[in-house]
């Protein structure tokens, strides 16, 4: 097999894996948009906040230590214990549920029936608040996240492809784990929304708030639930991205990677987020591989948006988005 083809296959495979990571971020956006029509600008910051909280709980860090020390003159930093990853994830999820309740209770409850742009602006405010709150709570240093996920080149794939093709493919173990986790997550989310009472209620709220209210569905409960689920998805994305680069404040910028995925896949489709992520991942990597060297490289950021825009020309609602038909 020609070398260029082998390299292209390797790049494509890695693009698929990168696409899964983009899709993980996009999923959180889709969930909230589907259930409440809110484009949640704070989704990236939620991933950051959840990852910060996870590391903080695992390492036994005292929350708001700087503030407490400054006010009371103490020298507190750590409780002196470390917690297992699984327990920490469960506790972090508790924090994210609490956050979902607070968001609903203090922000969106007061904004029912407001224009979408107002709700969007509220999420911008929420994003800045959470970023500052996360900084105050856990500090702004870069934290190593170790929940036991394997990382580095998969030797088996490297050796097998080398023996078969004469060139060993590079696939990161973390990317494989992310692909498995994303698959399971999508399966669980689809099953939840199709086969559970709460999932069906969520879909009913997504279709028509007023109608859902009229049959006794608690809008309040559903929105808290949706924000909690989005918080869980944010936690998964935060763990995957945090394991790659350490948990740091630029983690919130991963939202930028999700936008072209949403444009392409549609804002209301869970499978759309996955397929969109895969197309963006593969598209940007192949473009960088074949065209990048000719035009100076660093094409991935902008090419993802170009790719999404090309799709929008043909399907304005995105690949899996709902077609909006308005009768005059």
């Amino acid at each position: 097999m020609p070398e260029t083809l082998l390299y292209a296959i390797e790049v494509m495979t890695n693009g698929l894996m990168a696409g899964v990571l983009y899709a993980l971020v996009a999923l959180g956006f889709v969930l909230i948009y589907k259930a409440s029509g809110i484009f949640n600008y704070a989704q990236g910051v939620m991933a950051l906040f959840s990852a910060l909280t996870l590391v903080g709980i695992m390492d036994g860090q005292v929350p708001f230590a700087h503030l407490i020390n400054a006010v009371f003159g103490t020298d507190l930093h750590h409780f002196g214990w470390t917690l297992p990853a699984l327990l920490s994830i469960i506790l972090t999820m508790g924090v994210m549920v609490l956050l979902a309740w607070a968001v609903q209770r203090f922000i969106f409850r007061h904004l029912v029936n407001q224009e979408p742009i107002i709700l969007f602006m509220a999420t911008i405010g929420l994003a800045y608040f959470m970023e500052g709150f996360g900084d105050m709570m856990w500090g702004s240093d870069i934290k190593k996240l170790d929940v036991g996920l394997p990382q580095g080149m998969n030797s088996w794939i490297d050796e097998t492809t080398f023996n078969a093709l004469g060139y060993g493919f590079f696939i990161d173990n973390l990317d494989i784990v992310a692909a498995v986790v994303a698959t399971v997550l999508v399966g669980v989310l689809v099953a939840f929304s199709q086969y559970t009472k709460q999932g069906r209620a969520m879909r009913a709220v997504a279709d028509d708030h007023q109608a859902a209210l009229s049959v006794g569905i608690s809008l309040n409960f559903i929105w808290i639930m949706v924000w909690s689920v989005a918080g869980f998805v944010a936690l998964v994305a935060g763990v995957m991205w945090g394991a790659k680069s350490g948990v740091q404040f630029s983690l919130s910028l991963i939202a930028l990677k999700a936008l072209p995925v949403l444009m392409l896949g549609g804002f209301t489709s869970i499978p759309g987020a996955i397929v969109g992520g895969l197309i963006i991942g593969v598209g940007e990597k192949l473009f960088e591989f074949f065209v990048g060297p000719m035009i100076g490289g660093a094409t991935e950021n902008w090419f993802a948006y170009v790719l999404a825009l090309i799709f929008l020309v043909f399907r304005p609602q995105g690949l899996f988005g709902e077609k909006i038909i308005e009768r005059v």
């Binding site: 390299y7 390797e10 790049v11 890695n14 693009g15 894996m17 990168a18 700087h66 020390n69 003159g73 930093h77 970023e131 500052g132 900084d135 702004s140 240093d141 870069i142 934290k143 190593k144 996240l145 170790d146 990382q151 580095g152 080149m153 590079f170 990161d172 991205w241 790659k244 680069s245 350490g246 740091q248 404040f249 630029s250 983690l251 919130s252 910028l253 991963i254 990677k257 990597k285 960088e288 591989f289 990048g292 100076g296 490289g297 660093a298 991935e300 950021n301 902008w302």
Partner: protein, 427 residues
């Protein structure tokens, strides 16, 4: 009655306000935003050194120091706003801590007559003081760094780089592109093959670049990165099992923040530096006693001795020494920004002076002049010890290849002078 009340309130405010400090220094810092993890230790080091001088020595030459910090979040627009809003405070020198902000301040600060110290960043050709009268970038700049990196590679390759492959992974910005011209010129001289691998901001996804490195197998990789780009690059290098001792970052890719997330895999990674790391210097005992111990540290005190804290401290030390030089030249303790500029232009850092300050061997000796605002560009190489979680300085401070660099500085400075309508001359 009303007038009396107002007078009383004004009097109370005036009495309660701190006395107007005589020497004002301005730091455009960033303690928030995606780069806060790097901005905080530098800002802490910068502030702590001035606190030490105030607490231990009563300031500089008997004049208390007032440090004005303005938060930029590493955003160029905010940085310019900070400059505009604080320049009326009588700031003697600005430390922009961003290449983008520095580029914006070059014409503004020059017109306002306020010196700028862009230490190890900013516009490299600002080294030419005849064109950039108020901009100083001592003790080293990016081109010095690129040259010393190549000198180090010559050293580890028996003096010959002919036919070797060197890849530059760089932040796709004005900052990241700075070393390209120098590395290209040096490639002509030494015969190595240079591959350029740009990474878009912020740099969280670099799979394409590292797959290319894996395919091309360059003998050495250089990195001009910042923020998350550094951590991801080092992790990706570990993932593809690239030999870390062949991977060298510029000083902005050489903090503990960059290597710690990769754990043991980062062992052997190298970084350039123009100052030492760690806290094994007599001055740090004073920092402990007068600053941290007295509860006056700018931060939590947990960054002392780290690469970026020490860089901030070093920048403050150089500012204070320039202020002392200005006081000596003008025979007054209450110096102005114009006098400070003279002090910076006549700064002479010797090992004897560093030892007297409690920082023996901390940084290189260098002398600033009108023609040379950049010092001698002496740069050392650090290597990360993952087990000990510390940087080890593995070379002396090495001089760059000025035969190649000086014409490049002259050419770029001449282009700027023409563009800005400046007639090069010593002020």
């Amino acid at each position: 009655m009303k007038l009396k009340l107002i007078s009383a309130v004004v009097a109370a405010i005036v009495a309660g306000a701190p006395a107007m400090a005589d020497l004002t220094f301005s730091a455009l810092s960033y303690r928030t935003g995606p780069y806060a993890a790097n901005g905080i230790p530098f800002a802490d080091g910068y502030a702590d050194y001035f606190t030490l001088l105030n607490e231990r020595d009563g300031g500089i030459g008997g004049e208390k120091i007032n440090l004005i910090e303005c938060e930029t979040a590493y955003n160029t627009e905010k940085g310019v706003e900070c400059y505009e809003s604080t320049k009326g405070s009588g700031a003697l020198v600005y430390q922009p801590l961003s290449t983008g902000i520095t580029y914006q301040l070059i014409p503004k600060a020059t017109a306002d007559g306020i010196p700028v110290h862009s230490m190890g960043y900013g516009r490299t050709s600002a080294k030419n003081g005849e064109v950039f009268s108020h901009i100083f970038n001592y003790p080293a700049n990016y081109w010095d760094g690129a040259s010393v990196a190549i000198k180090h590679l010559l050293d580890v390759n028996g003096g010959d780089l002919k036919g070797k492959k060197i890849a530059l992974v760089y932040h796709n910005s004005a900052y990241g592109k700075e070393p390209i011209r120098t590395l290209e010129e040096l490639a002509k001289k030494h015969g190595y093959e240079l591959t350029l691998l740009p990474v878009d901001h912020p740099g969280q996804e670099q799979k394409s670049q590292w797959l290319q490195i894996r395919r091309d197998k360059p003998d050495h990789v250089l990195m001009w990165g910042w923020g998350v780009m550094n951590q991801v690059a080092i992790q990706e290098a570990v993932n593809i099992r690239y030999p870390m001792e062949n991977f060298i970052g510029i000083w902005w890719s050489g903090s503990e923040n960059d290597v710690l997330p990769a754990g043991d895999g980062a062992n052997g990674y190298k970084s350039l530096t123009f100052h030492n790391t760690g806290s094994d210097f007599p001055l740090f005992a004073d920092i402990e006693k007068y600053v941290k111990g007295a509860g006056k540290a700018a931060g939590a005190g947990d960054q002392i001795g780290t690469a970026l804290y020490n860089r901030g401290l070093y920048a403050a030390m150089l500012a204070a020494e320039a202020a002392k030089t200005a006081q000596e030249i003008h025979k007054t303790a209450a110096i102005t920004p114009a006098m400070m500029r003279d002090g910076m232009e006549n700064l002479d850092i010797t090992e004897a002076k560093m030892t007297a300050l409690g920082l023996p061997g901390f940084g290189p000796s260098f002398k600033v002049s009108c023609q040379n605002h950049g010092g001698d560009g002496l740069t050392a190489v650090l290597q990360w010890d993952a087990a000990g979680k510390k940087w080890n300085k593995i070379t002396d401070f090495i001089a760059p290849d000025n035969d190649v660099l000086n014409p490049l500085v002259a050419e770029d400075a001449a282009a700027y002078a023409k563009e800005a309508g400046i007639t090069p001359a010593c002020k």
